[in-house]
Symmetry: C2
């Protein structure tokens, strides 16, 4: 391990991880998101890639000239080093970067040269976090994990019998944030004890734990019944989609008694709902009963929605406690104030792509949101990181680049 003076100035509360260095060997969503999140909290994150890029470097969506908007989105604020992974000399350099930083996050498992065992010899207090597919060592990606779990069979219109995939890779996202959590927890533990940690987060386990925590699995084990497909209703409470007279869809949620009373009042159904309760012998102060009788209730509420325009509905709902939202497309969202006038977003000038509003970390710290920082291009920081972290001279770096052990700048790009 090479020891260097490094900034430990963490007095900026919006950069609490300042002074922490992290090496990331990754592709796709979970680990890149983890590295980006740690960077947004102030860590110096170096993503190391093979020369030519990992499997995600050209992932869609892309610009007209094939620059990946996807890659730029998940690697904001990182530094990029490119090296020839097949070269023992390059492997040695990357090992030294990991030993210097003391933290590796990776979803590239099964490579002896950056296994915990190999690296802990160089850095005994290493924090080594791997994201894998399944707990048993099997492979898996978000869309296969999700297929095997149960959610697609209960998503979509009630009359469907075929599965409906999610579009959001929700397991990747959750797994990425768990990975960031694992790193910071291990850093704090190392600060206190001097001990490193070897952590593994199987993507499927994130999904299984979530399905268990949220009772989707437990209700089968306890009650012997699994969730049914209920369209856009929310299970266990009153939540429903309604369409306006001009064909706009709204999501309406009455989570509490007050919400429900307001919804009845708004739609002029207070008496009708009371009569329905009497007829059914139901108690609509109980959210479970509101759920059980949701179709009858929806029948009563629908008239109000389908005889009003979206504008009228919006104005009326805004004056109540009811939880609601107008369904929007992504194209509509980008013009909304929630994006254009939200401190989460800042204008980012992303080289090779252009200027747009990019999100930073979705939390404010002491009132401030850490701003988005542009993503590097592959190999942008190879020379600088080798010099700063490992103390290599310009001549040494030139030789490494000449032998294609590493690549800098445009020499690192796919050919």
């Amino acid at each position: 391990m090479t020891a260097h003076a490094r900034s430990t100035d963490n007095s900026d509360p919006t950069r609490p991880l300042a002074g922490v260095r992290i090496v990331e060997i990754s592709s796709f969503v979970a680990v890149p998101l983890a590295g980006m999140t740690l960077g947004q909290l102030g860590a110096e994150v170096v993503r190391v890639d093979p020369i030519g890029g990992a499997a995600d470097y050209r992932r869609w969506p892309v610009t007209d000239d094939q620059t990946s908007i996807y890659w730029a989105g998940l690697n904001k604020g990182k530094r990029s080093v490119a090296a020839d992974y097949r070269s023992p000399e390059a492997q040695d350099l990357v090992q030294r970067l990991i030993a210097d930083s003391g933290v590796l996050i990776t979803n590239v498992v099964g490579r002896e040269w950056h296994s915990y065992e190999s690296l802990a010899r160089l850095r005994p207090d290493l924090i080594h976090v791997t994201v894998s597919g399944r707990a048993d060592g099997g492979t898996g990606v978000d869309y296969t994990v999700n297929a095997g779990l149960g959610f697609p069979m209960v998503t979509g219109p009630a009359e469907l019998v075929t599965p409906v995939n999610h579009v959001l890779p929700a397991w990747d996202v959750a797994c990425g944030v768990y990975t960031a959590l694992a790193v910071v927890t291990a850093l704090r533990h190392r600060d206190a004890t001097g001990q490193g940690q070897r952590i593994n987060i199987p993507l499927e386990n994130v999904a299984l734990a979530t399905a268990g925590n949220l009772s989707f699995l437990t209700e089968v084990m306890v009650n012997g019944t699994g969730r049914e497909r209920i369209g856009n209703s929310i299970y266990g409470q009153y939540g429903q989609e309604f369409a306006s007279s001009d064909g706009v869809s709204f999501m309406i949620v009455a989570l509490t008694g007050r919400h429900f009373r307001d919804l009845c009042e708004l739609t002029g159904t207070t008496k009708a709902v009371a009569a329905l309760a009497k007829t059914l012998g139901a108690d609509f102060t109980d959210e479970g009963e509101r759920y059980q009788h949701r179709d009858a209730l929806t029948g009563l509420f629908s008239d109000w929605f389908c005889t009003r325009t979206a504008t009228e509905i919006t104005a009326a709902l805004s004056a109540t406690s009811v939880l609601w939202e107008r369904y929007r497309t992504f194209a509509e969202v980008v013009d909304e104030q929630r994006v254009t006038d939200n401190p989460l977003f800042s204008a980012l000038d992303q080289p090779r792509i252009g200027e747009y509003l990019a999100p930073g970390l979705p939390m404010s710290i002491n009132g401030d949101y850490p701003r988005a920082v542009a993503a590097p291009a592959l190999g942008d920081d190879t020379a600088a990181v080798l010099a700063e972290w490992l103390g290599l001279s310009g001549t040494e770096i030139d030789q490494l680049a000449e032998s294609r052990t590493v690549a800098t700048g445009s020499d690192a790009a796919p050919r």
Copy 2:
């Protein structure tokens, strides 16, 4: 603030947060999940609820005798204190618990008595993390946030024109893990600097940041085009659902060139795919082109799937590199080895519900998974926490219980 000797023994690597105390004032998913996660990492988490329970104490699914499986799932391993929030004396007690612990996580915003300003007077280095609906102060829950974001308009069969909600409250889950991350990062920052933090995580910002990070918003801003509804296909690569001759659905993903070549070989379409490439002038070594021509490719592959049984398909796929999964229901999942023989799950004897397999934290630390611990019943720990944390005597606690300022055990339950 009352200072107490407390365990700071964090030498157990699977309990790195041992010695940390956290107060949670919460309901629903995000903050309860955050508190549970922090507890699974070793923190002592006290969930404080109003006498009779918060809005989620009876949430479905429930057992035959109306015990909430949902609540038990999201509050595993916590301690429970019940107090009458309307009583100034109870507010004072809860404030003292928060001041003692130095960490509050809550989604109950707008209450002066547990605002940052009120509490920081008692504990200047407080870590105060709030989860709110929207950045502008507006309300929002997972299903309204999701409706307003764009995902429901691109989920489900391509021919649909109406929105499809997700069943997994993905934003709540991500927000909960971000909340845990915020707490641990702030703890480490406080350890180093002595400074507390005031953090706010709007649920909608978690969703907006994710949609931005994953390019759903950015591609509109850069390319002027929004994502389309593509059924169960995966955007930007080859991923597709297929049905077997006996009607079982499979999700097939060819992420890399090797996966794709294996899929062609398996289905006996190598030559046909090459001919298709020639006809179309397409380069199927490029994942973007595999995506663009997915329907033609699916047409070629389908024959193989629809003429084989699920058992035959499973056996054949298992011998390849192709990423795949058989769609399963939740009821099927619970009997799979991935649950029954996975160290993530352990047999949990949950009072009032029974014994079942419950997930712990979805990560192994030095090879071990922290085990699941049962959830309390409301008020189970009121007396113990007031004694241990605040040093109250038995007589004082009895008086508080008698005046219903606090409630213990079954006295805390809903009436």
